[in-house]
Symmetry: C2
Subunit: 144 residues, 2 copies
């Protein structure tokens, strides 16, 4: 049956379905370009070690001040960088974000990304009371 026929309710469902498919396709496209399957609130599916981790621990200032939008943008932008392997994030007073990378050069390139440099500067000026960045080599991992 053609989706344009049928009751107005059925046509509405068709429209919602098309919009949903549109978003799914954008998401699948981003995922394919980034070559990974994870979101910040999932355990990252990283390859066998060795690989690298950036542990970013922070205490926020009061108020949003554009932080939420920039954090979302940085999460999406990071996924598109060469060597990106995944990200994990939690905030509970203290914020911890761990991003995983193939090499130290990939981390250096992401740190030097123009848009990311703006985020880093605004972070120091406005969003963070304190933060610490630790660059690590993951030597071993296990889990279930």
């Amino acid at each position: 049956m053609d989706q344009a026929s049928g009751s107005p309710l059925e046509r509405g469902q068709g429209c919602v379905l098309r919009v949903f498919r549109g978003f799914s396709s954008i998401y699948a496209n981003l995922k394919a370009r980034a070559g990974h399957i994870c979101t910040p609130n999932m355990i990252a599916e990283t390859p066998n070690p060795p690989y690298y981790a950036v542990i970013f621990t922070s205490l926020r200032t009061e108020g949003d001040n554009g932080y939420g939008a920039m954090a979302d943008e940085m999460n999406e932008l990071a996924k598109l960088q060469p060597g990106y392997l995944g990200i994990e994030s939690a905030r509970d007073g203290l914020g911890i974000t761990v991003s995983y990378w193939r090499s130290l050069d990939d981390i250096k390139n992401w740190k030097a990304n123009t848009r990311h440099l703006i985020a880093q500067k605004t972070g120091r000026d406005q969003w963070y009371e304190h933060y610490k960045v630790r660059i690590c080599k993951v030597e071993r991992d296990y889990g279930f």
Copy 2:
């Protein structure tokens, strides 16, 4: 003035003061033995790299089932282990706990601690849906 003399109120204050001093002394003692100044919701004050990090990322099952009490106990017990440098923790759906250590041997000894082995087994059996442990060498750090 002897604290036993004076009004009942003054004697009460003296008692509270002695109890407080008792707790302060236990806390100072623990802190001195552990040789660090941090709690799980603060940024850990780690020494200059290199040192080691254990990134523990987890998704919990439903309900507490004794998890909270054991987590508190493990945090306190970890602090007393040789080579312990600090801990950072946040849960927001996903849980991330990063503990910092002087060497790989210190991490191995803590993993083999009898009480900790029980916690690890109960974790796999009851508390966690999934988890991942990553053993890392911290090569560089910076912050403000």
